[in-house]
């Protein structure tokens, strides 16, 4: 495999290789070997864990332990009839789901899944180390909400419309505390590059969720709301709005909304891992006695990836755990929580962090 890559590099020239071929290859690998299987198996994990919480077994018919269930689901969704209602606004109806999925995937481009490579030529475990990555994440995540609004409006159904309205209000009010929560780690790290932020946590020997636990808490609450998950799953509350904004969607278009939701869960968790839990770093990197946690028998990149995945899984498990435990908030209560509690709290946190930064 490395031989093949080197041959390719020699064939197209290093400039083109590092500029275009390598990123495209990485994107392809990330999408088709990383994210898509992760999402489809996340659905299986969710059903299994929910089953465990709810004294039942979850899927167990397709393949051993239900392991082929996601594949069966995807196949089913692919061959289903794709209905576009007569009264729908066609172009917007088609555009909606794409606008939900694309931003979530784009954000993954700046997430560092592992450390940058030490030597020239060896691949780093991220697609791009952008110097304004944090801004990029916030900006791109914002686009997703348009998908929901457009989808809800274009369906020309009252339940969809109400779902779209809810998601608009919810996501706009939760983006504010989410963005404000990210300012804390940003102040501590002094850089917007996600790779830099992780490296500051390594050098400072402290993950940011310790000094920034308020920001961490706000970010997680806002993140759950942002990805429309229980207890903030109002836009698609099936017992109230049938299925909210995706009431009229079917087949693969419906699946795209789902894909978007799960991709968003992964993105929100990945950003949280990077900013607050030290990204690819092992726990307590400076404690001698725990140095076995570095997994130094593995290649450096792989160990980092493993730690990153482990932390990500914890977040995803918590998401699913929420779903098994909480009832749903009401619309106005959700807004109350966002505007009256999270935003003032986030502002206070920024103020405090800034003061501490100034004094030390």
């Amino acid at each position: 495999m490395p031989g093949l890559l080197e041959a390719l590099r020699d064939a197209v020239g290093p400039a083109l290789f590092y500029g275009a071929v390598s990123p495209v290859l990485k994107i392809a690998v990330l999408l088709f070997l990383g994210v898509l299987p992760l999402i489809s198996y996340l659905t299986l994990a969710e059903r299994k864990i929910l089953g465990f919480l709810q004294v039942r077994t979850g899927p167990n018919r397709v393949g051993p332990w239900g392991l082929l269930q996601p594949i069966a689901d995807v196949l089913k969704l692919l061959v289903k009839e794709d209905v576009i209602p007569n009264q729908a606004v066609r172009w917007a109806f088609v555009l909606g789901p794409c606008l939900v999925v694309a931003p979530a995937f784009i954000i993954l481009g700046v997430i560092p899944f592992g450390p940058p490579s030490g030597s020239e030529g060896a691949p780093s475990l991220f697609i791009a180390d952008v110097n304004v990555a944090l801004l990029f994440v916030i900006a791109t995540a914002t686009i997703g909400v348009y998908g929901l609004i457009i989808g809800g409006w274009a369906s020309n159904s009252k339940f969809s419309l109400l779902g779209g309205l809810r998601s608009a209000a919810q996501m706009i009010s939760y983006e504010v505390p989410q963005g404000l929560a990210l300012v804390g780690p940003l102040l501590l790290a002094g850089s917007m590059s996600l790779v830099d932020i992780v490296e500051v946590q390594r050098d400072g020997r402290l993950w940011f969720f310790v000094p920034q636990f308020v920001a961490f808490f706000i970010y997680m609450v806002a993140g759950v709301a942002e990805s429309n998950r229980n207890p903030f799953d109002l836009p698609e509350a099936e017992s109230e709005l049938v299925a909210g904004y995706h009431t009229e969607y079917s087949g693969m278009r419906f699946a795209l909304f789902f894909l978007g939701e799960y991709a968003n869960m992964i993105v929100v968790s990945a950003v949280a891992v990077t900013l607050f839990l030290g990204g690819w770093l092992p726990p307590f990197p400076s404690v001698e006695a725990l140095s076995f946690l570095h997994l130094s028998f593995l290649p450096a990149g792989l160990a980092g990836l493993l730690w990153f995945s482990a932390k990500l899984s914890v977040f995803l498990f918590v998401y699913i755990w929420f779903r098994g435990t909480f009832p749903r908030y009401r619309f106005d209560q959700l807004m109350d929580l966002g505007w009256k509690w999270l935003i003032p709290l986030a502002l206070a946190n920024i103020l405090l962090t800034g003061l501490l930064k100034l004094l030390t």
Binding site: L53, L162, A237, L241, V242, F326, P327, R328
Partner: protein
């Protein structure tokens, strides 16, 4: 009957109200209830229930069959609480024809109807919680409901449409081992109720969604003829099991569960209490179960006296379920009118949701605990 036609009013911001058709195919209308809503954003301006999608002419059907053959019709009215429907119907027939039920049969009836009360409340809790977004209680309650259905199955062979009572007594005696199984269940059951309460009672979000939502004052409740846990949640301690005791209820000890705020949360607490009380009643019935015959002496063909009438009501899981039967000397009832608790309780729904949000509507429909089979008959 169609709702009065009014043109959409302008709201404060100069926007029009929206008319929203809620049901009959909607996940949380508990069957085929249809609500015509006028909403301003998500706030409900008016609510107009439209019923009849499950109308099967049950009351007319009663006139076409002899008294004995009418019991299965009652199963299909409130189909999650067949035993109490049976009990109200056979009670009315017994009152009409002057049959005296032997003590053992009375105890078996009490056992069955209290088990039914638990299973009906379990189903209510499951759907109510899932409407509010808490998914897990659904599975926990169904685990216990399954055990009750097993007990029913052992007694009469059916799990849902029980057809388990006859005018004059009980068709079967309790099978061997049933008492032990039932005892095992009720001994374990209060700890399961603790489990449900652990998930919900002190849950912040649950309280936010239910406290102060769908408030029903005692006066309104009485005006509309609301009965059952709905009435007791509003502070009126009216329970037919105490007010007009029937079957084994005079001989057992239990408390009427009452709460005073009349909101969704209080009705939730009332029903949780009732499940505990039901377990208490069942334990006492099992302890005191008398021996003896299970069927009164009765003619092969039961005929009501000429120009006779009787109304007999019991405390069902959802409220007062009563049958008014007119006899004309033939083996068939001349007329049979049902007083269904779901129908009466549903009437008060618009009063409870006006001015609330669509999300509250769902919680309030859940808390009224309607079964459309009984509303429409």
């Amino acid at each position: 009957m169609e709702p009065p036609q009014t043109s959409p009013r302008q709201t404060l911001l100069g926007l029009e109200e929206m008319e929203l058709n809620f049901g009959p195919q909607h996940p949380s209308t508990h069957g085929v209830l249809r609500l015509k809503l006028r909403v301003d954003g998500e706030r409900i301006v008016d609510c107009y229930p439209i019923i009849g999608y499950l109308h099967r002419g049950t009351e007319k059907l009663f006139e076409l069959h002899p008294f004995f053959q009418n019991v299965p019709h009652t199963d299909r009215m409130d189909y999650v609480a067949a035993a109490t429907n049976n009990l109200a119907y056979v009670g009315a027939v017994e009152k009409l024809c002057g049959l005296v039920v032997p003590p053992r049969a009375r105890y078996i009836r009490t056992l069955l109807s209290e088990l039914q009360r638990i299973s009906s409340h379990l189903l209510w809790l499951a759907t109510h919680a899932i409407d509010i977004g808490a998914m897990t209680p659904f599975f926990y309650t169904f685990r216990e409901r399954e055990l009750i259905l097993d007990l029913f199955e052992q007694y009469c062979g059916a799990r849902l449409t029980l057809n388990c009572m006859r005018p004059g007594g009980q068709p079967y005696d309790l099978p061997a081992g049933w008492v032990e199984l039932c005892r095992e269940f009720v001994e374990d059951f209060p700890s399961k109720v603790d489990e449900y309460e652990g998930l919900l009672t002190e849950n912040r979000i649950w309280k936010k969604r239910t406290v102060g939502v769908g408030v029903l004052s005692a006066e309104t409740a009485l005006e509309y003829g609301v009965t059952g846990p709905m009435l007791r949640g509003s502070g009126v301690a009216w329970d037919l099991r105490k007010a007009e005791p029937y079957d084994a209820y005079p001989e057992v000890e239990f408390d009427i569960a009452v709460r005073h705020n009349g909101d969704t949360y209080d009705r939730y607490l009332v029903r949780m209490d009732e499940m505990r009380q039901a377990a208490r009643i069942i334990t006492q019935c099992l302890d005191q179960l008398p021996e003896g015959p299970i069927m009164a002496k009765r003619p092969r063909v039961l005929k009501a006296p000429k120009a006779s009438e009787a109304y007999y009501a019991i405390e069902g899981p959802k409220g007062e379920i009563g049958f008014y039967i007119v006899g004309d000397g033939t083996p068939n009832p001349h007329r049979c009118r049902v007083r269904p608790p779901s129908f009466m309780n549903l009437q008060v729904l618009p009063e409870m949701v006006r001015g609330d949000l669509v999300s509250d509507l769902v919680a309030v429909i859940g808390t009224t605990d309607i079964v459309l089979g009984e509303v429409d008959r």
